[in-house]
C-alpha cells in the first residue's frame, strides 16, 4: 500500500489530490508528494527492507504507489569503495555509487519506474517524454514492460547510435527538426493538448520520488549511515534534491541517525545556472543557453534549480562547475582507476570532486560518495580520441617490432 496522502506546494503549502499535476495553481511552484510518515514508520524496518527484493522496490513502503509496480529491475546498484581513485584525488574513504548498472544504463530507470507505475494507476494508457537519450530509453523500456503506448520526442540532431537504444523498445519515436528551445516549446503544447502521462511534466511529483532510492541505498549499503559528503550532478536539480530527501526521510523514520551530510552539486561550466547562482550568493537561478558536451545534464532552465541551491546551502555543502576538457579528463580518470565507463555527467562529478578536494571543501578523512548516474557507451563519441591502437601484422616479428619496447 501507499502512504502518500497529497501533493503539496513546496512554496505556499497548498495541497492537491494525488492526481496528474506538477504545479500549484496559485503560485505556479512545483508540487511534491506528502506522506503519512507516522504510519510509514510503523511499517518499515531495516530488517524488512533487507529482506526485500534486490532492486529499488525494497523501499516500496516509502514510494507513492500501490502494490502492482512496473519493474524492469532498476536500482540497488553497487556502491564501490574507490581506493585507487581516492588515492589519486586525496581521499581516504571515497565510494562510487555506480548507477550505470541500471537496466537502461542510467538512474532514469528509478524515476521512470515510479512514474509509469503511477501513470497506470491513474488510468493512462499512453506515456510521453522529450529526451536526448537516457530518459527516452528508460520510458520506452518501461512502457514496453507495462504494455503501454509511449511517445518519445527527440531533437533531430541526436545521433543514430542513441536512437537505436530507444527504438529497440518500439515506442512511437518522433525526431523534431528544431532547436532545443523549439522542442521544449512543442512539448509544452503537447502537454496541454493530449491526455498523456507526460513523464517529467504532469507526473513529475511521482517521477521525482524515484530518485530518493539513491539516498536510501547509499545509507543501507554504508551499514545504515549517511555519508559525510555527497557529490552529484545536476540538470533540472531534481535528483540532487531527492538524494537529500531520501537521507532525511530515513532519519525521520528512525532508520539512520541524524543526517549531517554536506551536499555538493556539480555542473558542466557550459550549463551551470545552479552553480552560478550558488557562487553569486543568489537565491534565484537565472536560465542560460546550454553549451557543453555533457548533453545528459545540459538543462539551461532547471525546474528544481532553486531547491537544489537550497539543499547545497542548508546542508553546508557547495557547488562547482568544470570545463568540457576537465570533465573528459574526469571520465578517463574514473575509467582508468576504477574500471567504470561513465557518461559525461560522471566526468563532471569526478572533475568537480577533484576541485572540491583541492580547494579544501571536502577533507581527506570525510566519507564521500560520488554519484555516477549514467553509462558511457551511449555517448562514447566524446572520447573517441582515446582510440589509438598499435596496429601490427599477424606475425611475432611485427608484434615485437611495433609493441616490443612496451612489453
Amino acid at each position: 500500500m501507499s502512504y502518500a496522502t497529497a501533493l503539496r506546494c513546496r512554496k505556499c503549502g497548498r495541497e492537491y489530490p494525488l492526481e496528474p499535476r506538477n504545479l500549484c495553481n496559485f503560485c505556479f511552484s512545483p508540487l511534491e508528494v506528502s506522506y503519512d510518515y507516522k504510519s510509514m514508520a510503523k511499517a518499515v524496518s531495516r530488517q524488512k527492507i533487507a529482506a526485500g527484493p534486490p532492486d529499488m522496490w525494497r523501499y516500496h513502503d516509502m514510494l507513492p504507489v500501490g502494490d502492482e509496480v512496473v519493474n524492469i529491475g532498476a536500482g540497488f546498484t553497487p556502491l564501490i569503495k574507490a581506493d585507487r581513485l581516492g588515492r589519486e584525488l586525496g581521499l581516504d574513504e571515497l565510494y562510487i555509487k555506480n548507477d550505470c548498472l541500471n537496466p537502461t544504463y542510467s538512474f532514469k530507470d528509478r524515476v521512470v519506474s515510479v512514474a509509469i507505475t503511477r501513470a497506470r494507476e491513474l488510468g493512462f494508457d499512453t506515456v510521453a517524454c522529450a529526451s536526448t537519450g537516457n530518459l527516452a530509453a528508460s520510458v520506452a523500456a518501461h512502457a514496453a514492460k507495462a504494455d503501454m503506448k509511449a511517445y518519445v520526442f527527440v531533437p533531430a540532431d541526436v545521433g543514430a547510435g542513441k536512437l537505436t537504444g530507444i527504438a529497440i523498445y518500439n515506442p512511437v519515436l518522433v525526431t523534431v527538426n528544431g532547436s532545443y528551445d523549439d522542442v521544449n516549446r512543442l512539448c509544452g503544447k503537447l502537454v496541454e493538448k493530449y491526455s498523456w502521462g507526460f513523464i517529467n511534466v504532469n507526473l513529475r511529483p511521482y517521477y521525482a520520488e524515484g530518485s530518493k532510492t539513491l539516498g536510501f541505498e547509499v545509507a543501507e549499503q554504508l551499514g545504515w549511515h549517511a555519508p559525510d559528503c555527497v557529490v552529484a550532478p545536476a540538470a533540472s536539480g531534481l535528483l540532487f534534491t531527492r538524494i537529500w530527501k531520501g537521507l532525511d526521510e530515513l532519519s525521520m523514520l528512525g532508520l539512520i541517525k541524524e543526517v549531517n551530510t554536506h551536499m555538493y552539486v556539480t555542473q558542466a561550466a557550459g550549463s551551470s545556472p545552479i552553480v552560478s547562482a550558488f557562487e553569486a550568493g543568489s537565491l534565484h537561478v537565472n536560465p542560460v543557453k546550454p553549451n557543453t558536451v555533457a548533453k545528459s545534464i545540459a538543462i539551461g532552465n532547471p525546474a528544481d534549480g532553486y531547491y537544489a541551491l537550497r539543499v547545497a546551502r542548508q546542508s553546508g555543502g557547495g557547488a562547482g562547475a568544470v570545463s568540457d576538457d576537465e570533465l573528459i579528463e574526469g571520465m578517463k580518470l574514473l575509467a582508468q582507476t576504477e574500471g567504470i565507463f561513465s557518461e559525461a555527467a560522471g566526468g563532471v562529478v569526478i572533475a568537480g570532486l577533484r576541485k572540491l578536494v583541492s580547494s579544501g571543501a571536502i577533507k581527506k578523512n570525510q566519507l564521500t560518495v560520488a554519484f555516477i548516474t549514467g553509462a558511457g557507451p551511449r555517448t562514447q563519441e566524446i572520447v573517441s580520441d582515446i582510440v589509438q591502437p598499435l596496429a601490427i601484422q599477424p606475425t611475432l616479428e611485427s608484434f615485437e617490432e611495433v609493441v616490443g619496447e612496451n612489453v
Binding site: 505556479f28 522529450a130 529526451s131 517529467n200 537565491l283 537565472n286 545528459s296
Partner: protein, 80 residues
Amino acid sequence: MAKRRVMFTFPQELIREPVIYNLGQQFKVVGNIRRADISEDKGWVVLELEGKEEDIEQGIAWVTSKGIRVDPIIGDIVEG
C-alpha cells in the same frame, strides 16, 4: 482564449520600464503575476499570460526582442 505560464527575467536596464503594462496595451495580453522578485539591479516575474494565441506569441516575441528572457515556468522539458 489561450493561457501561457512564463517567467520573465529582466536585465538591469529594463527594470524601470513598464514592460508588462505595455505588453497588455499593445498586444491585448493580460498578465496575471503570481510571484516576483525585483530589486534595483535585477528582477524576475512569474506570470500567466491570457489572450489570443497569436497575440501571446507576438507579445512574447516583442518582450524577447527588448532583451528580456522568457522561459516556460515548468522549466526545460527535454531531459538527458
